[in-house]
Symmetry: C2
Subunit: 104 residues, 2 copies
């Protein structure tokens, strides 16, 4: 019963939600997650999530030079992604309400 399992499924929605706030890139997303309290998310965890979202057409990608370091891949949410995010939020709300009814 570790945190990894609790995070499953939640992380993907959170990453999508962060991208929905405006164009951003992997490293910055990592910092946003950490700022929200989801610390200890490794790069090897985050980047596959991003790749999945991209392959699924929920976000789109654009390469651009960084003013500080190697090239960045900037991501924006797509229309399909916006829809998927709404669906996710609804499902999250339903499940978390059920869980809280049982737990507390």
């Amino acid at each position: 019963m570790d945190n990894a399992q609790l995070l499953k499924g939640i992380l993907e929605g959170c990453v999508l939600s962060i991208i929905a706030r405006g164009e951003t890139y992997g490293y910055e997303i990592l910092q946003d997650l950490e700022a929200a309290g989801l610390a200890d998310i490794g790069e090897g965890t985050l980047y596959p999530v991003i790749t999945r979202l991209d392959k699924g057409g929920l976000i789109s990608c654009r390469r651009a030079k960084s003013p500080l370091g190697p090239i960045r891949k900037y991501y924006s949410i797509t229309q399909a992604g916006t829809q998927a995010l709404e669906d996710f939020k609804a499902r999250y709300k339903a499940i978390s309400q059920s869980a809280e009814k049982i737990l507390f």
Copy 2:
């Protein structure tokens, strides 16, 4: 991004919490979950969770005849289970608060 992933990790804590309310058995837990809104949890999903909790010493088991149908295995929470449930609740709260900060 289906419900299965969202449920991961949550289910085990919910089952433990239901058992914490008083001695109960598999089939009844299934109905309690459904009543709380966690429908469509199959037997093939629930019973492995129970087995895991039992093997981990978080619940204890007692066999008894059912007034209606085959023999039941009644489960009660152990002291270790009570502790584990408290830990789980704390971790769940932390993660769900982070998630909600990002999502809503």
